[in-house]
Symmetry: C2
Subunit: 239 residues, 2 copies
DNA sequence: CGGACCATTGATAATTGTCAAAATTCGTGG
DNA sequence: CCACGAATTTTGACAATTATCAATGGTCCG
């Protein structure tokens, strides 16, 4: 709960909304109207935002931090389906359709969210139809990613998959540097393993091997440097 | 090309539309209006309806037969993403969003389709907003299935997955019989393998083993009998 | 600095993939 | 309706990859 006291409530709201792609088509006036509707929440690393089976009555937009959305098997194995970060949203399925949460959502870091209740969300869609278009587009992206992930886990070898996840993270979290691209990994080794459908130790081994080959450089547990993304793309397989 | 000559064109259209869940909320009068818009096509087993990367300008609804939607890796491995059959549709992504086909679609049997052009589809959505709701619902189902499939391939063992696909097919294609449930498999062994992300031979071995254990009975290559679905569910894992 | 947590490495086992051959099934045409 | 050839499936033997178990090493944070 480290709310930065020096930021006024209004600034936070503005900030929040500007980060959200689905609201990005609206102008300042429209944003002001929505401002009041948004309800903020904060979570600590490890907190669970939503449990599988929960009845959800709001759409959650990530304002700060990132979360993992996953399913567990009865014997405790975890499959991560999505990593949501700033600007991403979830819970819309439970408003459009009459179903409870199909995955658990857990904070990977300190997280701040913007929440819109079912009613508010519906009013928003009604007032600003262009938002619906953005949502459909984002759901399409998500479906494409799931389809690619399914192919990845289904028929591609572990090296391919590791390469793919590095590219995915480089695009989403990478910062260009004179030495290459620095990635702040949102997931631990175990998290990466659970995202790729392999064992923790396998990820360690592959990373070690890639470091030996000069493909990556481990700066810390949660930070790696990619000197040459082309080489990673070669490993991922053009597809 | 075995069009049943004894059925008039009108009957075929009616038949088509009645099979399509997304149109099922419309009454006869409304259906009649749509009738004229639909364009029919026929394909033989093995024909490709859509290639990855194709520009699609219509939504395709399966009227008869079934198809597989899949992605290929550069080394020729195939991952089946969906099996679409009577009443299912595809291609909507390419109308809602500006993208080309993300998967190849191939006929598993003789197939008849009902096609709606982009413009016709948009008019339909405009005239009958309840169709949009059905589509959103179906896309939600599809997303749920993809999420489950990802979990399946990611963390569940092959026996679990075989069990799951048998249940899936039993629900979709199963016919109750005094001896149990008879399933007309839409996919060959190789198809099942490419759906589950395992090798052809592995599917054969697991089926043989299950037959030895009395869990299934192979009636022919494309037809199996499940005497007791509960036992299959036990293998699939309750989840 | 200490302790908890996370990551790495090694040794081994288990599962599944691969290759090859045999058996079965299917569809076609006689 | 049967027979033939093609296609598919099954089975076996073996190899490869990855999971598992166990121990060590490293990192982060109060």
């Amino acid at each position: 709960m480290t709310t930065p006291r020096f930021k006024c409530k209004k600034c936070m709201d503005r900030l929040c909304m500007h980060k959200v792609p689905i609201l990005s088509s609206l102008d300042i006036e429209d944003l002001k109207k929505i401002m009041g509707l948004i309800h903020h929440k904060e979570y600590n690393k490890g907190d669970t935002l939503v449990f599988v089976g929960d009845t959800m009555d709001s759409v959650v937009i990530i304002n700060e931090g990132s979360v993992k959305a996953y399913k567990n098997t009865s014997d405790g194995r975890e499959q991560i389906l999505y990593v949501f970060s700033e600007g991403d949203f979830f819970g819309e399925q439970n408003l459009f359709r009459n179903q409870t949460a199909t995955y658990t959502v857990e904070a990977l870091q300190a997280v701040k969210t913007c929440n819109l209740s079912r009613k508010q969300f519906q009013e928003l869609l009604y007032s600003f139809p262009e938002i619906a278009v953005k949502i459909i587009d984002e759901l399409g992206n998500r479906m494409n990613r799931l389809e690619n992930a399914l192919q990845s886990i289904g028929v591609r070898n572990v090296d391919n998959r590791i390469g793919s996840i590095l590219i995915e993270f480089a695009e989403k979290y990478g910062i260009k540097d004179e030495e290459g691209i620095i990635i702040q990994l949102p997931l631990s080794r175990e998290g990466i393993a659970n995202y790729l459908g392999v064992a923790r130790e396998t990820v360690s081994r592959k990373f070690s091997q890639m470091e030996n080959d000069g493909l990556i450089r481990s700066l810390s547990n949660k930070e790696i440097l990619i000197p040459d993304l082309d080489k990673i793309e070669a490993i991922a397989g053009i597809n």
